[in-house]
């Protein structure tokens, strides 16, 4: 039975790396429902899974020029400030209503993404993107370099700030909001959005993971096989991603969005 942790984690790592999300959506339910692990240990293991997904894929994405390093650092400023702000707000806000509002928002985003068949790439840079050289190029499925520009930079920074607040208030990974903001507002190719989000989520999760680790909530008995499975899965995901058609990634992302919105609705009405 224990051996099952490895393939489940590998699947979470594979999906997480191609979608730019942590593996928490798979890891937490699997550990609590299949292995009857206490939720606190499961959450600690899921934080490790985010770090492992991010680290496992980061090397390949950097090498393949899918991660936009400049953009990742720029947007991370909004996320970490938002997360600190969200932490300070947490005791004053009833998160139940937020769960319902954002479940509906994610569901609406899933619908919008489902309707969007092709990449909507911007042909002009926002002045901030021009100043910080945020535009770049990425290899498409055929291995050809495709240039892209970066639009709506201030709006995306505000969305990242909001994503940081929400992840602190709702206890969810902010990867989903990051990918949505980069894909929808900044009009980046979905692969660049996923890879850049992948880079960012590991950085944000590492602080919390370290706190849980020192507190002793990261149990090696669970976290070690989870991390190992995730590393293997995310490495395979990062290798496969350049060859997967962008439309397929978008379709998988829509399914995950729908699942997360249902999970959030259930929490909101619980």
């Amino acid at each position: 039975m224990e051996l099952l942790i490895l393939p489940i984690s590998a699947l979470a790592g594979f999906l997480g790396s191609i979608l730019g999300l942590g593996g928490g959506i798979i890891i937490v339910p699997a550990l609590t429902l299949l292995f009857s692990i206490d939720i606190r240990y499961a959450i600690a293991a899921s934080l490790i899974s985010i770090v492992a997904t991010s680290s496992g894929a980061a090397a390949s994405y950097l090498k393949d020029h899918l991660t936009n390093l400049r953009l990742a650092v720029f947007l991370e400023v909004g996320t970490v400030v938002g997360a600190v702000f969200g932490f300070l707000l947490a005791s004053y806000i009833d998160s139940k209503m937020l769960y319902i509002i954002f479940a509906l928002f994610l569901f609406f985003s899933a619908l919008m993404m489902f309707r969007k068949r092709a990449e909507h790439i911007s042909f002009t840079n926002h002045p901030w993107a021009e100043k910080l050289s945020l535009d770049s190029a990425y290899p498409n499925e055929k291995g050809e370099l495709v240039s892209y520009k970066v639009a709506n930079v201030p709006f995306a920074l505000v969305v990242m700030f909001a994503a940081g607040i929400l992840s602190a208030l709702l206890g969810i990974g902010s990867g989903i909001f990051k990918v949505l903001a980069m894909d929808g507002a900044m009009k980046l190719p979905i692969k660049v959005s996923s890879a850049t989000s992948n880079f960012m989520i590991g950085v944000t999760a590492a602080g919390s993971a370290l706190a849980y680790f020192l507190r002793g909530d990261v149990k090696a008995e669970i976290a070690a096989p989870v991390a190992l499975g995730i590393i293997l899965g995310s490495y395979a995901g990062a290798k496969a991603m350049p060859k997967i058609p962008a439309l397929r990634i978008r379709q998988i992302f829509v399914c995950v969005l729908a699942i997360v919105s249902i999970q959030m609705l259930l929490k909101g009405f619980a």
Partner: protein
């Protein structure tokens, strides 16, 4: 133009360093997993929450001579350190490229992460 070429070379170096870190951590985690897969029912003990700090866990593993457990813990600590090293290297990369605004942003992110950790804020 020269700046961009330097950046991609440094990016490549960072990616190799990351790959080495992940591989090293995976080796230690793999060794640690032997303990789990040879010790059937090890997960049952985790169905109930029992607070135990990392230092206590290490002391117990040392006393029991459980080197597999110690290897897992080392692999996990290496893994957790990697993203923080990544941001620090990114700041260095921007410094080398004389992109001081982005370097300042990378340092700011590292500082907020450090402060949040010491203040007990979970991001």
């Amino acid at each position: 133009m020269t700046g961009k070429i330097d950046l991609s070379k440094l990016e490549l170096k960072i990616s190799y360093l990351l790959r080495f870190g992940v591989l090293l951590s995976a080796i230690f985690l793999g060794v640690g997993c032997i303990n789990l897969f040879t010790n059937v029912g090890a997960l049952h003990a985790l169905s109930e929450y029992r607070p135990q700090s990392l230092l206590e866990t290490i002391e117990i593993a040392k006393a029991e001579g459980n080197y597999f457990h110690l290897a897992s813990l080392f692999g996990l600590s290496l893994l957790v350190a990697l993203p923080l090293v990544r941001v620090a290297l990114t700041a260095y990369l921007f410094l080398r490229n004389r992109e001081f605004v982005l370097m300042a942003m990378a340092l700011f992110v590292s500082l907020v992460l450090c402060f949040s950790f010491f203040l007990g804020i979970e991001l």
